[in-house]
């Protein structure tokens, strides 16, 4: 199943033994995976009651917060890795959250639907908004309020003084490093703040 492989690809970006903050952690699956297979610890942030409950059920430490309110709860660089997976497209204050991610974590990892994926382009060329596995909503009821592309994020990262450590596309559970903006339905970026010395 590609979602599972996506999860493993993302987990592979997280160093062993990291303290992790997972923004929009959903039902806690990734945190549980990171704890079990990579010796990581940390917290998930989640707003939905049902997901908070699932996290508690599986023993994942979860903190119920609205990410739109920022990350005032967390000190600068208090986590090794801050994950923001499949989340930024739902946020109104996307750019602020990106800055917060870079502030709280030594490393940030972000993933989001890549609107420039060829299938999406094709749909728009035909005159319709795409409805795909990655973007499964009709335009009038989508929770995705920020549609961007792999290439767009490179610009936003530069604008915010972030140093991209790694970036690639994800599609059907495979990491794509050639022409990700065209070939991948999901964009993945690993970055750190440009104004701090690289961590070992």
């Amino acid at each position: 199943m590609s979602e599972r492989r996506d999860l493993e690809v993302i987990a592979g970006l997280v160093p062993h033994g990291s303290r992790v903050l997972d923004l929009g952690c959903g039902d806690g699956e990734l945190l549980a995976h990171l704890a079990a297979h990579r010796g990581c610890s940390g917290y998930g942030i989640e707003i939905a009651d049902g997901n908070v409950l699932r996290c508690v059920q599986r023993g994942v430490q979860v903190i119920q917060l609205n990410l739109e309110e920022g990350l005032a709860l967390f000190e600068d660089r208090s986590f090794d890795v801050v994950l923001q997976l499949d989340t930024l497209q739902h946020l109104r204050n996307t750019e602020h959250m990106l800055q917060e991610t870079a502030r709280v974590g030594r490393i940030g990892i972000v993933s989001f639907p890549n609107f420039a994926h060829w299938a999406n382009r094709l749909s728009v060329v035909r005159g319709r908004m795409p409805v795909t596995k990655t973007l499964p909503y009709q335009w009038y009821d989508t929770p995705n309020i920020r549609m961007g592309t792999f290439a767009d994020f490179e610009v936003l990262a530069r604008r915010n003084g972030l140093t991209v450590l790694d970036s690639f596309g994800l599609h059907d559970g495979a990491a794509l490093r050639r022409w990700p903006n065209l070939r991948a339905s999901v964009a993945v970026f690993k970055f750190e703040r440009g104004d701090v010395a690289p961590t070992a």
Binding site: V20, L31, C40, S41, C55, Q57, G59, Q61, Q64, S78
Partner: protein, 396 residues
Amino acid sequence: MGSIGVVQPQSRRFEQPLPLRSGAALRDYTLVYETYGTLNANASNAVLVCHALNAGAHVAGVHAGNENSEGWWDNLVGPGKPLDTERFFVIGVNNPGSCFGSTGPMHVNPANGKPYGADFPVVTVEDWVDAQARLIDAMGIRQLAAVIGGSLGGMQAMAWTLRHPQRVRHCIAVAAAPNLSAQNIAFNEVARRAIITDPDFHGGHYYAHGVVPARGLRVARMIGHITYLSDDSMAAKFGRGLRNGSLGYSTHEIEFQIESYLRYQGDKFSEYFDANTYLLITRALDYFDPALAHGGDLAAAFAPAKDNRFLVISFTTDWRFAPERSREIVKALVDNRIAVSYAEIDAPHGHDAFLLDDARYHGVLRSYFERVALEASAGHSKGGGDAPEMQSPVQP
């Protein structure tokens, strides 16, 4: 999922004085307590339930001969309930200074053979926790699986991890706060003044006069009650409803439904609650402030709790112990890299929500206790590492 049924209060006398924070000591005192469920062979499944202002040891079940004597947290504690008495040994204990059986202001002061009255020593949350620790010592329990409480009870649950961190594994603090705000202390002070200025108060020695300051207690309870409900729930329950359907143009009579409700609550309360206890317990609330000894640094205060695990729960419409206050607790724990989960329950009932059985709220408690139970049945004890099946996958 049913009631635990008929339960029997028990009591234990402690002859060794309890040293208090004030420097005084409580001499020769008795604690009333109740237990539900069975303590397992390695005494690893005990859960202590701490009470708030207006409750005691009677947490669940009913007392013999009185079907209406349901315990104050009966919707949470019982067979098959979120705090399942088929898996846990649950302890409710009435704190000293209270008026539900344990030694309090209306009991005899061994120093002079008269009721304590106003001479009952000022007790703090920390003093209560120390008294509770002595009780579990006497029960042969070295370490509690969990301690849980709401409001003032949540403060006690936290104080356990600060004073006796090795003697408890999990702390569940519901609708709590790291200290009272000035506004909260102000409400308490108005309530206290209502009692103290009642002509029947007699400086706290009203027992000798054969009276109780019922008027003061009524007003104190009315004020308290307003702060336990949300504006929305009051509007939904009473609105501007009139008791007699039309205005009576009276300043003395009950006109609005909310007045009728508050007077009823006040009357009921004044019949069973002791005025000196009200003063003592509101003071304990005012004084609780673990950060004070650390220059206001709550994170420093929580440093001893590094091996404890926390569940913090707040309610969106609780303005007496607002979610922001619970987030302060969560932040202090996160700063210490302590394990914590936090649920902010969207409930309309204000502070009172912690006593109600909202499905989301009880769902989180049930799930959390299920994990605590797995750990307890594996004979987990702190220091030896997590039992495999309880390995909390994400342990900060």
